[in-house]
């Protein structure tokens, strides 16, 4: 995989980890028309994002095309320490998928 799609800020404090993440993705809704051809642009969006910490799922989101372009999500979970790694797996509705790692600060 080439460029990283996810921007992640994870911070551990007081036994909890707060995660803010943003995916760089167009989230094409399937409602827009191509101005030149008048044809509908097919939907292209991230439909699932799963975040794991220490091989355990701590957050999972099923998304629809009603989520804004460059989707932003924030959540927090118990545990996690500075320097630990989070593993994030995204799946596009096209079937494309990828896994990225991010360290907790």
């Amino acid at each position: 995989m080439a460029k990283k799609m996810l921007k992640v800020k994870a911070k551990a404090s007081g036994g909890k980890t707060k995660v803010k993440l943003m995916a760089k993705h167009i989230m094409e809704s399937g409602q827009r028309k191509d101005k030149k051809t008048g044809e509908l642009i097919p939907a292209l969006f991230i439909q699932n994002l799963t975040v794991k910490y220490a091989d355990k799922v701590v957050f999972e989101a099923n998304l629809g095309p009603a989520i804004s372009k460059n989707p932003y999500l924030s959540f927090s979970f118990d545990g996690g320490a500075s320097g630990d790694e989070l593993s994030m797996t995204w799946t596009e509705n096209s079937g494309k998928t990828g896994t990225e790692l991010a360290a907790i600060k």
Binding site: R32, P42, I67, F75, D78
Partner: protein
């Protein structure tokens, strides 16, 4: 050939199974991602597909934070929190959108029932947060005014 965007939005909202049907049909749906729920055109149908029921109970323990007026419907910040214990999932429904179900968040044990995201809204409508806790459905709703829609283009 000039079709203005309102007409387009309306046409899709009313008649067309255009979008999802053609694009997603050939693909195998992921087990977790409920295709039926995400493509449902009616909010009650989407809820039934996702939860197997649309029997919601309004609860003060579900907190939906969204602006009163969204200037730009393409980016509406929404936060759902709940003080309940045993929360399994939290979902966001936008009644007036072509497909009302916007997102479903799974909350495993140890994760706080507090999630923020940003959604698109086609027009002024009711946003409903549904929290599934201990097998029951609880909700909170809020009307959000949209001055510029975010669905057409």
């Amino acid at each position: 050939m000039s079709i203005d965007r309102r007409t387009v939005v309306k046409a899709i909202a009313m008649g067309g199974a255009l979008m999802g049907a053609s694009v997603l049909m050939p693909r195998i749906a992921l087990a977790a991602w409920s295709k039926e729920a995400f493509e449902a055109k009616e909010q009650t149908a989407a809820m039934k597909a996702l939860f197997g029921s649309d029997g919601l109970e309004e609860s003060a323990e579900v907190n939906l934070k969204a602006p009163d007026i969204a200037e730009n419907g393409a980016v509406v910040p929404v936060t759902v929190t709940s003080s309940m214990s045993g929360v399994e999932s939290m979902s966001i429904f936008i009644e007036g959108n072509p497909s009302p179900l916007a997102a479903e968040f799974m909350i495993p044990v140890g994760t706080k029932a507090d999630v923020s995201t940003r959604v698109r809204m086609g027009k002024t409508t009711k946003v409903t947060a549904v929290v599934k806790a201990n097998g029951k459905l609880y909700s909170a709703a809020k009307e959000v005014k949209v001055t510029i829609g975010g669905c057409g283009g």
